[in-house]
Structures are given as structure tokens and as C-alpha cells.
Subunit: 248 residues, 8 copies
């Protein structure tokens, strides 16, 4: 990983354009700003195909619309998560090509095509109430150029529904499993497929579900191997990691 | 439900054996002690077939042996739960016919036969580490005269093992399902059988299992209907209720 | 349990209707779809008498009305739980015979009669604030064809009120006990009756009640035997299991 | 509340024994040390009849014996709580009149008699496992000169046992109720007696008892009025407050 | 405690008014209804001076007004706690003499005078935000006929404010101490006064105050003796017990 | 620390202006009120430069405006925290020079200048969502006369952004680090700077962030030395202590 | 996926070897046992290269030695986790080629070679106390044939140590990050590398670390994308999933 | 901050000692290793006066002795915390000048003098059981060259004891306050002194103290300003930060 700025400084210095101390100072500055570009920003760009993600919760509609407008100028693809429909309408007024996923609460803006992966991510969700999280995962995975199979409503209380889809799930390269309440689905899927499973607990449930805590603990304690877990309702995070794995 | 003591008091009083005030006092005493016999103790006898249960944890070997000796004189059947092997040996020295279940940590003493039920209780456990709880449930259910089917090591991570036994489980009148870690097994069983399921979380697991809390929450939030839950590791309690149901 | 589809495939195959490979494939397909029908769906139908339950919380009024309309076409009995009055009005507009229980927040639609049980379920609740959960349990139990005795406002702080009803409670085949705050009622009832008790903690209380957690823990740790517990406020779940037991 | 030291300083100052500045300084010192004597220490002496309490947990046998020896010189009555039998033996070697309560784990040393109260404290405990806490309360209450009625093993699962003792309990001036597991007993007692009830949760139980948390929450959420709660296993604290109330 | 109903039955029976069996039955009925009157209701009347308390939270304005109207007919004194101003207005429309305490959120209706105690209850609160709980305690204590001293805004961060009132507090027979946040005030007061202290944690605070949990735990673990604790924000409960103690 | 009031009393007493008993009484009164002035109030004044802080949450707009008006008369500087914009407008109507910080939700009123410190406080925040807490800290620190450097949006996920500012942070005398979610930033900063770090967890996050608990625990367990923590979202508290340190 | 057993049954049936009913029964049996083989066991074999894993915690030395002996006969590779040194010695007596990793507490037995992956797994751990978990992960990953880079003691308090290894870490295909205390390391690593990160919280720490809970919550709430989490101290689970990803 | 290595590289490069690419590579390497030295290690040295701290918990006696021996060679001052007496003896055998603090469980080795601060740190602890934490803080503060005042056993239950020492405490530059149980002491001290207070919760207490959680929450919610908190029992951490502040 060659640092072009330093190369230029070294050449100019040899040519006498600046003193030893000046050169040292310039190298220093270069390194500190370079640290960012090399280590982080370039990575992000490579990783996400020049895409940006905006977590919209807690931002006003005007702020969201403004951020989209700014990023749109750079020609980036943009994904807004946890976005209200009102936020979408504010964005759409400025950028008519922006799209909204109602259950997933995402705003998507595609300025350049991302090449589609050969292999796919399976997104498996337990109940209809888990759909918002499943859709967030789905939109995210597609945003990063992944083929996606969404298999809904295959909770463990009616396990035959899962079996009807098991061959389909097995074809995926990585599997996201989404469930609320007792969060048992990832354990069952993890025992049936031979692929990494990323489990997403949801806040679906009441009483002793404690806002997703029961499902979270269930998934962390899964008796199946090959399962890891993300935060409650974090469909985005699961899809982001699944995309990373699917692009390996 | 006639109170014979009160009948006798009334008759004696009419015959002048004691004054009005004495009669009132005797009725009063009779009622208060009667309350106990009528409401509670007789029930327990009916319910459990003249059997007594001793929770041995926190008692010394001498105390346990002493209690067994006393009860043995009445000819009761006696079940000691959470008993160490040392406690058993102290009992056995006095009552050689007492028996011990090593994994279940129970001492059993049978003085009179309990008629065996026609129908059975299925006890289904997830992993080999859940065996102590499963055995406690097993011994308890048999102590109260129930036929029992014990099906071990059918955790959800290898769900085909459960299917190999599903017909057997379905023949039971009531099902006890025992699991630690994420506690998902009752949800799966509850979706496959048409009988009441009593779920027992166990303290098996580590880290975020928090001593059985994860399994407990999982079971309370089960997406399957027809499931109720007892305390962590409470194999006795599950079997006691299952026996009640099986005797209906 | 004979699989008629497989029998037909076997016969046709013997008659040469399709090749060995085709036969194997058909058997395979049959088994996988069969798995569901045999194991789960038929069970559910048997179990619930062609009845369907809709958990209405988190669904829009339109969605609920739509689901009721669809199910109504099949002539099923339908129970909607956690339904707002608005949801009921949306359903009623389409199906005028639907009924609503105000405290229990249930919508009921009866298309065919369910035979009534000989034996009954007693539903015992501690305070007037527990009524919504008690009514949900009540409506659910009746929906599945059970005789029901509802005994309200017999909390442990005035234990004589419970005693006035104890004979009534003892006549039931299974008892549901509902309480918030400290959740002590199931322990007292469990000590007085000789029947399985299903305890329902409610979210009634404030401060250190922590939304029903205090009552839930109290019930799980009951010193009375023969008690099991369902999730906080889960009147439906308790009644569903009680109905199973009452139908044994 | 006249401060004699200040009076003396004022007089001496007027007589010219010291300068204005010295007088101010002496008043200042007097007030600060006085603050302690007036506010705290004298109170404690009045309150406890020249008695001292040592919390022995976490102290070595030598330390405990040493503290007893020092206090013994002042002729105080001394109560040691949470003391091991070994600690007692170390004390006894030095002060042969010291006494030990085995279940309560207390060391008592009486150097002067405390007058006995006319009225009594009732100490009511749920199960035999709660005995250590009940005995600690008992010894403490007697140490401070209270008549005490100890009524054990009257848990709510067999409520008739409580009724057999209810008249006795009602005669007390203040009632301590001790229970582990679900901690329901104070609610029942509180509904039956017309006296202040101090509830003590114990760490008796297992699984979701969480070391007494279930009982603690149950008691804090009691549906009976007139109940307050002390820390888990805090028999001493309950008896100390009960003694205060009984001495009013 | 003589049972007049039983005396009459005994006399009538001796006079031949009914048969032995009838007599036994009547005694039985008498005892069961008597149980309630003797044990509970009469107590409550004695205890509270023919007063009734309504917990208004979770009841509609109409329900509250209705209950007040019914109780008013019996001439009882009535206290409504956790009542909104709207509820008060609904009551006032029917019973113009009803009064409302704005910070305490209580409705009071006095139909007959309660004799005032000689001794008093001190109610000490830490901050201005604890005033609602302090006022609830205040109104409750006065409702039951207690003299009350309310000392507000004497939190431990400015401990001199407490000292300015310490003599006043010491004159009370029992002290209620109310605090949110870290809940330290009862420990300090408990160290300075020689009277029973009832501590009330409040839900005042934010972040790691966890709705009063921090104050609750602080109070339960107080290093001062003579302190007991009621539920978070339970000003009523503290005052009810304090009134009991003050009436001893 | 000489007590002038006592000096005067002593002199007057010597001159015979009042009796011994009167003198003792006056000294007593002086000491108790003095206690406050000496110990607390004067301290506060010294400490904060005649400034007052009002925690506005839970107060009505009228109450807040009233308090500001009263304090304004004394010529104090006033800081209102957790104030709504409506509260500000109510204040502004009365005191037009009052200023409002929108993200920080603070009202500031400066009546006299506070000398500015030579050294500065660095306020470092992880994400844009932490800005409200950062602004509250910022306004508070400036209110007490500190130079402040605010460095936002330098979360650990893009650690180069922190490095771009590290020299700036190192120049501060004390550092406040604000972060939600996993709360990792203080650990990283603490490892890079040689100054005391005060960490502020924020309630930013969702799911298992549990309202700031995750960040709070993270900070308390920091593997870097030299870090202490304040309550969740407590920007004011952090700045208050930082100001104390910066003024040493 | 052709089922050979069914093919044989079909052929035999056509040849008249058994009746229609017998054929149906055999197909049925085949399917149910087949379910296991096809779905689960074969998968496991494929996935793990004929390897078996034994969780040794809670098993006696004899049991562990026995299981190793049995599995050894089949020629499998065997990994024992959470094994004491005593357990290892019991195994070694029977199978001298078994090896033990002291910090990782693993017993490894290699009977046939597993091909080594081209790409590697980086295992990054924060402190020396996290070594046991890191070693468990390391041994597990190597057991499944992965190249492994172990980089220890690069906690965030001294972030330059991490930077010295960052190029090395970036070369891996998947990264396991292990940390106790505040668990901040995965966030920092996740921001610097472009690969999936599996985070393992450890129980290292004290006080408010709550046995790894602080680290667990920190990791679940990471502000870096691309991170998922396994149970506390679950080095095995992290390595198992990492191996799956590395083998894709 | 000039980077001498880079200066040398630049000079050598200009003199033609290596090519442009080599120079760029050397600059790069220099920067990455330099990052550590500049940013972290030098800081630590400056900060702690060439001192090293070893957290001994979880290390064997041999490991601890070995680390001491290695560090001793560099002539560093060394502090071992959470060290058993056995560990000390192992160290002492090698380095006879090492010293041990019994209650604080620290090993100290002084190789060169640290200049003593003019100003002091006050360490104030509530009860005798908090002494181990107070001693750890004390030894740590002295290790870093601070004057220290240790004031023990001044808990809030006997607040006059604190007042006897308040002038002494006020003279310190920074105050550490240590308390278990309800953790109220920092609030009281914070209200009386005008200096930064670092609060240390201890695990002293039982029952609902939950291992120091009650004290921790109490301190985080302190109603006094100017207080920050470290982890439970973290005497070292408090003293480390106090030393930083005292050296400002």
C-alpha cells in the first residue's frame, strides 16, 4: 500500500523544494490524514461499493432530506434506515427516484449499479410481526448487491412450514434468521443447514419478552453451533455482515 | 361435607353435657382445626395417596434420616428430593428398603403400592446435561403412580432425533419438556403434539444463560400455545402437576 | 397412521405409470408436504375444533378485518385477541355477527357450535384490575367449548372472600388463577384445591412491580405444588392449556 | 436541650478565664463534638439500653473476640450477628457467659438486665428453612427486652396452619413476617391482623428465586396495606425496628 | 371473641327449631361467612375508622364517581389515591364536599370526624420533585386522624437544611422519609432520630435511577438500623403503616 | 474559620446584654444556622461564582419562569437544564436577555461576568446523536467560566477522526468523553491522553443498549486507568466536576 | 438428493418382495430415519470433516475418557472443550496421542489429517486474561483445518499495539475479536478491517462487569457495522462459525 | 513533536542511501511504530513516573514473581494489586525489599523516589468493611507520590463522626469517598466540600446489595454535583484518577 503523497514529498524534498524540517512536517501531516484515508475511508468505499448509510431515527425530516441531497451530488448510492414515511416524502420531493420500503422503513437511492452476487443470502423470519426487521435486512442486502431469498412465517410452532423451505435455505451461502418471542428459530435452522447463521432477535412479544431480551438470550445460548447474534431488531447489521460474507 | 365433630358437640350439648358458652367454644375450636383437616390435609392425602415429600436441600443428613424414620412409622410412601448420596446412606442405615436415584438425587421409600395409571406422562429432555432434572421428574411421576416415558437427548439442534420419537410422545396424556440453554424444545414439541406441555427450564449453560434465566424467558415467551412453565430445575413440580393432570 | 398418497404412488408405480426415479421423487414430495399436514395442521384442527386465533396487537384495523373476512369464508370459528374497539368495528362492518368483549378486548365469531364440556374451568382473579386478563381467559375458554366459572376480586389481602368461593372452585377440573402485584393468590389456591393450577401474572401494579415481573417471579417460586405459569397477561395461553386439560 | 459545656464556657469566659477568641474556639469545638453526643451517641444509648451490636460477617475470629473483650469491659450488653460457631468459641474462651444461638448464628452477652416489655412482638415464619432468619430476629428482639412469640412453619401453601395461630398473632403489638420463595405470607397476615407488619424476605428458594429477589419484590408489591419491608435475610433489622415500635 | 350467630343457632337447636343436620349446616355456614366478618372486615373498620380507600389509577372517571357515590351513601369517609383532576371533577359534580390535593393527586371526602392523635407523624422529603409522594402520604395520614409535620426539601446534598429541622422531626412518634435519586436521606435521618423510620423511594431521577430502583436498593441496604421500606412512590402505604404505629 | 456571629454573641453577653441562658440559646441557634452557611451555602457560592442551576424537567413553564424571575432579582447568573423551548419562551418574555441552546436544551442568563480560565476542558463526543449531551456539558462548562473545546463525531468505528484531533485534546486540562451505544470512546481516549477523563454514557442506541445501560457498564469497566463516570446523559454533572478540576 | 433406500424399497416392492402396506410402512420408516441422516448427521460430517466435539464441563473424568475411547474406535478426530487437566490425564492413559492445551483447556485427538485452508482466521484478543478464550478459539479453528493468526494483548487502552498488527489482521478472511471488561476492541477492529468480525465477550473483569455482561452488551451495541456476537467465553462457537466462513 | 527517525531517513535518502520506494517504506514503518511511542508509551512514563502496575488476580504466584523480577531489572517502581499473601511471599523471596499491605492486598516495590505532592488526596471510607478498598486506594495514591489523608469509619448512620473530620477533608485537593451498602456517603461529602469527589462503591453488604450494585446506582444518582464514580471495589482506579488531578 504505497503512499503517493509521501512519494511526492520525498521527491520534492530531494529536489530541494523544502528544508529537512519542512519535509519532516509534511510527512507527518500526510501520515495523520493518510491514516484516515488508508485505514478507514478507502476501506468503507471498497467494502460498500461507494455507498452510504444513514440511520434516520432521531433526525428531523429536513435533516434527512438535506443529507440525501448532499450525498446525491457525489453520485453515491444511499440507504436510509429507520426512516418514517414523512422523511421519505421529504427526500422524494428533492430526489424523485428515491424509493421507500413500507414495512422495512428504508429509503433507497441507487445512482450506479452494484454488480449482483452469484451466491445468495437466505433471510428466514419466524412470524409476520418480524417482517419489518426482515424487510430491513432484505433491502440492505440487495442494496449491497446480494441475491436474496426471503422466507417468512416459518416459526418453530409449525415446524413443517420450515421444512417446506429447507432445500431453498440450504442453497444460500449465508443465512439470516429473524425471530422474536423465544427466539428458537436460529437453533433449529442452525441444526439443519451447513452455513453460517446470523441470528437477529426482534422486540416482538409482550410481558416477559422484555423488549427482545428473551429472544436475544435464547439466541446467544443456542445449542446449535455456527450461530452468531446481532442487536435486537438490527436487520441492517445482520445484512451488512451477511453481505461481507457473501462477497468473500 | 359433614363435620362429625360438630355433630357430636351439638348432640352432647342438647343432652346437657355442657353449657351454651362451652358448646360455642367447642364448635369454634372444632372449626378452626377442622379447617385444616377438611381443606388441606385430607386433600393432600387424597391427592398424593398418603405420600409425603421432603425437600432435602439445606437439611443435615441426621435431620433427613430422622424425618424418614418418623414418617416410615406411619407407613407412608416417602420421596426425598435434592438429596445427597450421603443423606441416602444415612436413611438406608435405618430403612434398608429406601432407594436412591443417582442422577435425579432422589430417595424413595415405598410402603404401600400406588395403583398405576392407564395413561402415561412423556418426559422429553433436550441434552444429556438435563438428565438430573429429567430423572427427578421421572422418579416423582412414578412415585405418584404414573406410567412414564423418558425420551432424552432430543434437543432442537438435531431435530430428526425428536422426530424419531414423536409418535411415542403423542401417545402420552401430558408432556413434560425439559431444556436448558435457549430452552427452545417446548416450542417445537408444543407445535407437534396435541397435549398439555409443562416446560421445565434448567440451569444448564454458561455465560448469558444466567443460571437458567435464558431458558425460562424463552419458555414463557413460547410461540406455541398450550405450554406452561415451572421454576428452573423444578423437575419435581412439573411431575407433580403432570400427575395431577394424568389422574383427572 | 397410513399415508394414502404414498399408497397411491406405490400402486401407480407398480402399474408402470411412472419410472422408478419419478416414483422416488413423488414419494419424496409427498413426505415433505405430508409432514406438515400429518404432524401439524391436522392436529391443530382436531385440537381446536376448526377454530382460528388472531393476535391483533400490531396489526391495522384493515388487516384484521381482512383476515376475519378470509377465514369467515371457510366457515371457521374465529377468535381475535388484544383487539381494539376500532378493530372490532371494522370487523363488524363486514361480519355483523362478530361479538366484542370490552374488558377482555376480544373479537369472537362463531360459525359452528362447539360441544360444551361436562366439566368446568374455574378462573379466579385477585383484583378488579386483573379483569381484562380474566376476561380474555374466560372468552378463550368458552370459545373452545368449556364451561367456565369466573370468580373475581378474591385477592389474598381479604382471604375470607376466597373462602366464600372455595367449594365452587374445587368443583372445577382445572383452575386458572390470575393476579398482579405480589402474585400470591396461586400459592394460596394451590394449597386449598386438589386440581392443576395455571397461574397468570398480570402487569397490574407500579414501582417495583416492574410490569408484572414481581408477580411472575412470585408464581414461579410458589411454595404450593401443582402450579405452572404462563407469560405476563397471557390470559389466552392459560385458557388454551386449561381447555386442553379439560378436554382430556 | 441545654448544652452544659457551652454554659460552662460562657461562664468561664465572663469570669475572664480566657479571651474572646479562645472562647469562640472552645464553643466551636464543643459544638462539633457535642453534635455527635447529642445527636447520635446518646440516642443510641437511650434507644438500645447501653447495648452494642457487632456484625461479625467478614471479621476474623480474633477480631470478634477482641471486640467482645473490649466492650465487655464497659459492662455493655453485646449482640454479635452472622457469627460462626468458631467465632463463638473464640469469644467463649475469654467470656464464658457468652451464649450462642445455633440456627440464628448469634452470640449474646448480657451484663445487665433489660426491663421486659408488657406487649409482645410476634415473629411468624413461612417454612423451616426460614428458621435462621427467624431466630436472628427472635434473639435480637429479646436482646432489646421484648416479649416474643415465635410461630414457625405457617406458609401459605397450608393456610390452616396459620389460622390455628391467628389469635396468638393478633395479640402482638407488631408482627414480623419472614418468608422466602414467593414471599406471600406477609400479604395474607397483613390482611388478617390489625397491626404493623414488617416483612423479611429470605434467600430461601432456588432457580428464579434469585437469592431472595422474588420474595423481596413480592413483599414490596403486597396488596395488603400496613406492610413495610427490610433487606433480604435481615432478621436483625426487622427486630430492631419492631423493638422500636414495641417500646413506643 | 364470641360468635353470636352460633350462640343463637345452638339455642334454637336446643329448643328444637331445627334438626341436628340443619344445625350443623347452619353452624357451618355461619363459620364461613363469619370468618370474613370476624377476621377481616371488622378489623378493617376498627383499623381505619369506617374509611375506605380507592386506588383510582386504571379506572375511568365514571367508575370512580360511581364508587364514591355508592360509598357516600353509607356515610363512610373516602380517600381516592392516584386520581386525576378530571376524576375529581366527576366526583365533585355528584358530591360537592369532596376535596382534591393537586400535587398529591388525592380526592378526600369526610363524612364523619376522626379523632386526632396526640402524637404526630413526621414526613420528611428530599427534593421538591418528591412532593407528590409526600403530599399523598400527608393526605393519607391526616385522613386517618394523625397530626402531621411535613418537612420538605431537606436532601442530603445540603445537610444543614435537615439539621435546621431535626428537633422538629425528633418530636414525632414515627417518621416517613421520602427520597428519589440515590435515596440516601433515610440513612441520615435514621442515624439522627430514635424513632421507627419508614422509607419511601420515589421514581424521581433519570438514567441509572431506573424508575426508582436505585433509591429502593439504597434504602433496603441502609447502614442505619430501624428503617423499613415500602414500594416505589407508595406514599399511601407508608402513611397507612405510620398511622397504625402512631395509633398503638 | 472564625464565626463572627458567635464572637458578637460572646461580646454582648459579657457586656450583660443577655443572660447566660439566652447566650447559650443564641450560640446554639447560631451554630445550627451557621452550619448551613459555613458548610454549604458559602461553599456553593464560592464554587460556582454566585450561580444557580435549575433542573427544569418536571416543572411547568410557569414555575420555571417564576424561579428565573426570583433569582434574577438577586443578580445571579442562572442556568436551566433539561428545559423545553416553551419554557425558554416563558422565561424570555420576562427576561429578554435569557439565551437558549437548542440541542443542549439549556436556558442561560448571565448577569455578571465570570473570569475565564487559562486552561481548557475538552469535550469529546462519539456520534452526532450524542450532541444534546455534549451541548449540555459545553454550555455548563462555559457558564462556570471555562474555556471549552468541543470535538464531535469521533466515534471509535472511524478512529482516524479521533487521531486528527488528538493533539487538540491533549492540550486540555481535563477531558469529558461522551458516547452512547457500546461506550468505547473513553477507553480509547483514556489510553491516548495523560489527563483525567470524565465519561458520560448517553441513552443513544436501541435494543440491548437498554437506555444507556450498555454504555454505562462499558465505561465503568474501562480497561484504561484515569477514567470516572457520571450518570447516563448527565452532561451537566460531568461539566460541573470538570469545572471544579479545571479551577484547581 | 436421491434417497437410495427408497429406490431399493420401490424396486423390491415392484418385484413383489412385499405387499403394498409393507412397502408403505418401509417407505415411512425410511423417511423418518432418513430425515436425520440427510438433514443433520451427514451435514455435520461434511461440515466438520468427520470430527466430533465433546463439551466436557459437568462430565466426570471417567465419562470423558469413555467417550473419547468410543469415538476413537471410529477413527474420528475428537475435540474436548472445557476439559480439566485431570480429564486429559484420564484420556491420555487410554489414548497416548491425545494432546492438551493448558490455557485453552482443550483435549485434541487427531486420527486423520484435515486439509489446511489457504486463507486464515485472525484471532485478536484484548488482554492476557482473555487468553483462555483465545486459545479455545485457536485450537478449535486449527482442529477444523484453518490457518490461524493469534494476536494477543492489543486492548484499546494502548491502541498503538493494535496498529502494529493491523496489516496482519487485514490479511485474514474472517476475524475473531475477544475482549472482557468494556468489550470495546471489536468496535475498533471493525472500523479498521473490511472483513466479517465475530466478537466474543469474556467474563474477565470484576464489579460491574457482571461476569461478562458489560462486554456482551458493549459488543451487541457496537457502532461498527459487520460485527456479530457469540455467548460469553464462547471461544469454540466463534471459531466454529469462523471456520464455516473461512471454508466458503 | 519532531520525529527523529524520520529526520534521519530523510537525510539518508537525500544522500542516496536508499531509493525513493525504500524511503517511503521506511517512513511508513517509522510512523506506525512511532505512533505507539509518541502517543502511548511516553505518556504512560510521564504520567506514572516510570512506574508499572500489575493486576495480580487470576495470575499464579510464579507468574507474578516472574513479572516483578523482569520489571525490577529495569529499575521501575512496581505496584501489584489484588495480590494474595502467597503471591507476596513468592515476590519477596526474589526481591526482599518488596512490601505488602495486608488489608489492601497490594505489593509495592520502590526503586526510585517519587517527589511528594504539596497538596493532598483525602480518602474517606464509610465502614470498617470498606477498609480493603480504602487501603488499595491509599497505597496507590502514595505509590504515585501523593500526600494522603485516610479517614475511616465515618458512615452516614453516625454523621457526627464525619463532621469531626470535615475540616481535614476540606483541606485536600481531591476527595475519594468509599462506601458499600446504600452508598450514601459521597452525596453527603459532596454537599459539604468544594472539591472534586471520586466515589467508589464497594461490594460490602448482603441481600439486595447485589454485590455493590446498590451502592453503584446510589452514587451514579447522587443529588450532589461534582461527583463521578468508578467501578465497584476499584480503589486503584479512583486513586489513579485522583493522583492525575492532584498533579495538575
Amino acid at each position: 500500500m504505497q503512499n503517493d503523497d509521501v512519494l511526492k514529498i520525498l521527491e520534492s524534498y530531494k529536489q530541494g523544494s523544502f528544508s529537512l524540517e519542512e519535509a519532516e512536517q509534511k510527512v507527518h501531516s500526510s501520515y495523520f490524514s493518510d491514516l484516515g484515508h488508508t485505514m478507514v475511508d478507502n476501506n468503507r468505499r471498497k467494502r460498500s461499493g461507494a455507498s452510504e448509510v444513514i440511520y434516520c431515527a432521531g433526525k428531523t425530516e429536513e435533516q434527512i432530506a438535506h443529507i440525501f441531497a448532499e450525498m446525491n451530488k457525489r453520485g453515491d448510492n444511499i440507504l436510509g434506515t429507520r426512516a418514517s414515511h414523512e422523511a421519505y416524502q421529504a427526500v422524494k420531493k428533492i430526489i424523485p427516484s428515491a424509493e421507500y420500503d413500507v414495512p422495512g422503513r428504508t429509503i433507497t437511492l441507487i445512482n450506479r449499479d452494484t454488480p449482483l452476487t452469484e451466491t445468495s443470502i437466505a433471510i428466514v423470519s419466524a412470524g409476520t410481526s418480524d417482517l419489518p426487521v426482515a424487510r430491513e435486512a432484505c433491502v440492505t442486502a440487495e442494496f449491497y448487491g446480494n441475491r436474496v431469498q426471503l422466507i417468512s412465517d416459518v416459526g418453530v410452532a409449525g415446524i413443517h412450514r420450515l421444512f417446506n423451505h429447507i432445500e431453498e435455505i440450504r442453497k444460500a451461502r449465508v443465512v439470516i434468521v429473524i425471530a422474536g418471542m423465544e427466539g428458537a428459530l436460529p437453533s433449529v435452522v442452525g441444526g439443519l443447514v451447513d452455513k453460517p447463521v446470523i441470528a437477529v432477535p426482534t422486540s416482538v412479544g409482550y410481558g416477559a419478552a422484555f423488549g427482545g431480551l428473551a429472544a436475544l438470550l435464547g439466541m446467544l445460548n443456542s445449542c446449535s453451533s455456527g450461530i452468531s447474534v446481532v442487536n435486537i431488531d438490527n436487520g441492517f447489521g445482520a445484512a451488512f455482515q451477511a453481505s461481507m460474507i457473501n462477497h468473500l
